[in-house]
Amino acid sequence: MTGQELTDLYFARSEQAVEATQAAYGAYCRAIALGILGCEEDAEECLSDVWLRVWNAIPPERPEHFKGWLAAVTRNQALTLRRKRARQPQTVDDAALELAVDLGGGPAEDLEGKELGRLISQFLAGQPEANRNLFLRRYWYGDTVEEAARRAGWSVGRAKSGLHRMRKKLRDYLIKEDYLL
């Protein structure tokens, strides 16, 4: 079932909507939640909240990219639960720290997450697909470098190099846009 068809089910307030979403994207969302929470039990709890949130959000929302939107809902929910649990899975933290350190300081530190997210999206849209995906696997999905490399079919060394280059390019981009010093 496509994202569009799933969205239509939600708009029709069909009871099948949640079940069909779970069938299509349950494993995908579980992997995202598990990557952030690092615990099966918490991931299950997170997903229960996700299905409810999706049900409440559509309508009125009609996401253009259902899968990506669902992933963001899952990630957000997992981060919220993580803060509540005060648990810190290593890979997600390491990834965020890696990026934070390389970006350094400047006006971007005062940016709202939404604005910074928009800038990063803009930057990523202009990058080669393979590098963009590698970046997102590492910093969005929280994959380890090894996992991200395996998924891309790259060596770990090449993935590390690619990520390093992407972080540097992002920093240059934010400097050019006057958000970093």
Binding site: H65, G68, A71, N76, A96, K114, N133, R137, A152, R158
Partner: protein
């Protein structure tokens, strides 16, 4: 910037990009027979990417990585080999070579030869003796600047800096049972000052990787006469059809740097009979390494 800020910002990344990132490339298919080298490869991968330098036997291998200056300048450099090379006095070479050193600057000059003996006679010193290569078939031609149609499988190159002759490299191509062997030496003279510049970009100590090629440390091999060669493996998946393998061995003896490469060469072989089993390629490489004969240090 703070970790939490990055994590929040990530939540506002365009869902279309996030979605697309879940569909990226498949896992690389690994062949079962690669397992024997996995431990070595893992060791290499742990080192790669962080510009770590490992002291491995007689040579020092520096894997280039995102933090190394080398990588930033030349991101196709897979690794560099730091041989402990001697700086030979100019008068230890033939009169012809010495004379050239006073006449030529900032240039690389190449000469083709039909044998190592002939090359050594011209150079004025013994550089490479190998009983296995003596028996090997002639390998593919080496292309070189200014060849004017000359074909050779043994080439001498002299690299002149602004002072004169700084570095000499010589290499040859051979075939042994479907495996192409490349063998070469590198010598510095007393005029060597800034190695990379003076070597004219043709330094056998700088190993580059083309798109689709990966290098990893394979092993340190000790020959019966006590030479310790550091061997790396190259995996090339660029054809998109099958992975091919090559091995590079580096070592130095008496202040001279040596390298030997081995890879399958598809002459007279069909795709089905191509001898591209890496274990076989490695065994031929070791056979060649065993064939080196060295004079005692002066």
């Amino acid at each position: 910037m703070k970790q939490e800020q990055i994590m929040d910002a990530m939540n506002y990344i365009d869902p279309a990009l996030v979605e697309a990132a879940d569909c990226c490339g498949p896992e690389v298919r690994r062949k079962k027979w690669r397992k024997p080298v996995l431990i070595a490869a893992c060791l290499c991968l742990a080192l790669a990417g962080t510009a770590l330098a490992a002291e491995l036997a007689g040579v020092r291998i520096s894997w280039t990585g995102p933090d190394s200056e080398e990588w930033l300048k030349e991101n196709d450099v897979a690794y560099t080999v730091e041989n402990r090379l001697a700086y030979f006095p100019l008068d230890s070479f033939s009169a012809e070579i010495t004379t050239l050193s006073s006449e030529v600057q900032n240039k690389t000059v190449s000469w083709p030869f039909v044998s190592w003996d002939e090359l050594e006679e011209y150079l004025g010193r013994n550089v490479l003796d190998n009983t296995v290569l003596d028996e090997a078939a002639r390998g593919p031609d080496i292309t070189f600047q200014g060849s004017r149609g000359k074909r050779t499988n043994i080439l001498l190159m002299a690299h002149f800096n602004d002072q004169g002759l700084a570095c000499i490299t010589a290499n040859s191509n051979h075939l042994i049972d479907g495996i192409q062997i490349g063998a070469g030496v590198q010598l510095y003279t007393e005029l060597m000052q800034t190695p990379v510049e003076a070597r004219g970009g043709q330094d056998p100590g700088i190993v580059t990787a083309n798109e689709g090629e990966e290098f990893s440390f394979a092993e340190v091999y000790t020959t019966p006469n006590g030479v310790e060669a550091t061997i790396t493996q190259k995996t090339d998946a660029s054809s998109g059809i099958r992975e091919t393998y090559a091995y590079y061995a580096h070592f130095n003896v008496n202040g001279v740097g040596f390298y030997v490469t081995a890879e399958c060469y598809p002459v007279d072989y069909t795709p089905e009979t191509l001898p591209d089993d890496p274990a076989y390629t490695l065994s031929v490489l070791k056979e060649v390494l065993d064939g080196f004969v060295f004079e005692p240090a002066a």
